[in-house]
Symmetry: C2
Subunit: 174 residues, 2 copies
């Protein structure tokens, strides 16, 4: 499993190759303000985690130590040519990460990092509101599992397997 | 690599475990009509392909035979609790697949299947407009690579590597 790497100063190095990791979910247009985006649905969020962390979660319902959830932020691009309306994830505008590492972050076990568009390393974010919101509202272990179909349905599928529950936990548990 | 499986009648079996495959992209609100959705950004699309097909594409720029692109369709759910606005992928409303298989579909090499919400198998779609649009507008080999960041940036990254190009093709080419 790709593990978080830190500088001597404790900054997290920007994870590499995460686009080949497992997709957790992709909300759009999240905003702390009431301001409507000038055009389109707002920013595309794409969240990935290591395949091994995903399989561990499928098997145990727990995120293993060294889990990294990487968040990409992209401006919306309009899919105007083919269909009458719709939007896709366009230009990259930011990358962030949540890391589970109790050895390094003993209080909560998780820390949050903002690389911006092109930063190669990032310090753990200070704002208490980030930690508080993840802690209070993340459905499972500080993670917003409720918004990530691939994760939340692993639990649903285990509880009530049916043809409309596409994930097959047994396929991940090897 | 998970390969397409067909019934004796030539129907494709609904792929299993694809949520653990590689994420290609997730447009929202695509529609052939001008009708605006009653609420929210419209339907969330999530497109996955086999990890092996992704790595093959990263290495060669070609989709291998037996590539499957699985499309999930989900109603938008509103993320009202935490932030002021924003949407996430909610209830599953449909699954479709594009399959590259020249042995079985010698004319174009690709066929398209619609499983609906819970169907376990599907016949190749007849409408010529599906084939025509994929053929005319898919940026690469009938695939809408232009709308899938993880695929289109593999080519960009190979052409001009930089810190703002997160995918690292060398990491996929083993």
């Amino acid at each position: 499993m790709a593990e978080p790497e830190y500088t001597a100063e404790g900054e997290l190095l920007r994870p590499r190759g995460y686009q080949a990791w497992t997709f957790a979910g992709g909300p759009v247009g999240l905003d702390y303000s009431d301001r409507k985006p000038a055009e389109g649905p707002g920013v595309f969020h794409t969240v990935y985690l290591q395949p091994e962390a995903y399989r561990h979660y499928a098997r145990t319902g727990k995120f293993p130590e060294k889990t990294m959830l990487v968040l990409e932020l992209r401006e919306p691009g309009e899919r105007e040519v083919i269909v009458k309306q719709g939007w896709f994830a366009g230009k990259l505008v930011g990358v962030a990460a949540a890391v589970k590492d109790h050895g390094r972050f003993p209080n909560e076990g998780w820390a949050y990092f903002d690389f911006g568009e092109a930063g190669g390393k990032a310090s753990a974010l200070a704002p208490a509101r980030c930690h508080r919101c993840h802690s209070e509202h993340g459905a499972d272990d500080n993670v917003f599992v409720q918004f990530y179909p691939a994760l939340r349905e692993l639990k649903n599928a285990a509880a009530a397997p049916s043809p409309s529950s596409p994930p097959d936990p047994s396929a991940y548990s090897k």
